[in-house]
Symmetry: none
DNA sequence: CACCGGATTTGACGATCATCGAATCGACTG
DNA sequence: CAGTCGATTCGATGATCGTCAAATCCGGTG
């Protein structure tokens, strides 16, 4: 099926491809499988470094491995690579990369009604609309592992003067968690990639 | 011309694509041009941040801009994106990412003819080809000071069912030495990769 | 069982990078 | 010429990431 979470998946793929050492690894395993020690020797890097990069490539589903104790042979999954790269092959696919551009009619209307550029005209009362608006807010929130309250306020203030209410609702709606004065994004369905 | 340094170019492209904010930017400008301020507002980020990312995308040649003072409108160059991304669509292109030392045409042909991924299609009869293939086999052999016969068999079996013949030929061709049931690599010039 | 060797994890360090506020640039307008 | 507004540059800050040494894990072997 090609209806995977294209946003997170695509980003992960490009990130995996955005390092020169990993590109060299791919080039090394493109036709013949290699074990870790050999790769380390050929690229002139340490074994842990190889292991690290192979894990990154593996998470992006760019390689297959066959275990033959005590060796593990890695090989490039070129089909997966091609599939991943198709994610940016058409305007439609590119548009899907950013959630705001691929929303259904309802979401689009709600967002247009409640947002005026960066600013939120008002906080929706209806549950459904509130959900849409808050998810959009989180989408605009810069990604951090954790946020100090002042920091979070500063972000929210950009969108609405009553940032305190929004902050409270984010917690109540379980979009974020508060722990010892520190805020974190909730672990919602990030369609995590490992199968 | 397409004889540009494909390695550095490819890396730059993937790096440009390896950031969620930049993917969102691309999605925003995929069909209609936008000016910087609008982009900043829609994505909920600061103008300098937009400028920074646009510069990165520009260096990767992924967008075109039309100046209309005081605005600058940016638009995604989808053709350039597709072209850039094709750099990893075939085994050949991937291989080009990291030139493996340097193999002459003959060696490359022989290897392509006799190897099918990890497996050896057949054992060459001609002396010259046998030499090339065996050297490749040894290159794939994990480095050890010495190998037990069972161990060596297990490795060779991955490449060809008739591992006994290959093992025997390795000895006869003086690629390896057998001593008290233990196998060792011969001390030949390994065209070593380490610099 | 202890041992061996390849693969992986852990922890630390340095480099790179995304982000934003403040300052600056640049082109048009009154 | 001064004023305006969008775009850009600069500098600082915090986070991420690549790298490697040391420690650990884990099959298979003697």
């Amino acid at each position: 099926m090609d209806t995977r979470d294209s946003t997170a998946d695509t980003l992960q793929t490009f990130r995996a491809l955005a390092d020169s050492t990993r590109l060299r690894l791919l080039a090394a395993i493109v036709d013949r499988p290699r074990c870790g020690q050999d790769l380390a020797a050929e690229l002139g890097i340490a074994a842990p470094t190889v292991s690290h990069h192979l894990k990154v490539l593996g998470r992006a589903r760019l390689l297959s491995e066959t275990r033959q104790p005590p060796y593990v042979f890695y090989q490039l999954d070129l089909v997966a690579l091609q599939r991943a790269v198709k994610a940016v092959s058409t305007p439609q696919r590119v548009r899907e990369l950013a959630p705001p551009a691929s929303v259904d009619a309802e979401t689009r209307d709600v967002l247009r009604n409640f947002f005026d550029g960066p600013r939120l005209r008002s906080i929706p009362a209806q549950r459904r609309k509130k959900e849409i608006v808050f998810e959009e807010l989180l989408r605009r929130l810069p990604r951090r592992r954790e946020y100090a309250e002042a920091e979070l306020n500063r972000f929210l203030e950009v969108h609405h003067p009553d940032f305190c209410t929004i902050r409270r609702e984010l917690i109540m709606g379980r979009y974020m968690q508060r722990d010892a004065g520190v805020y974190r994004l909730a672990e919602r369905g990030r369609a995590v990639v490992d199968a």
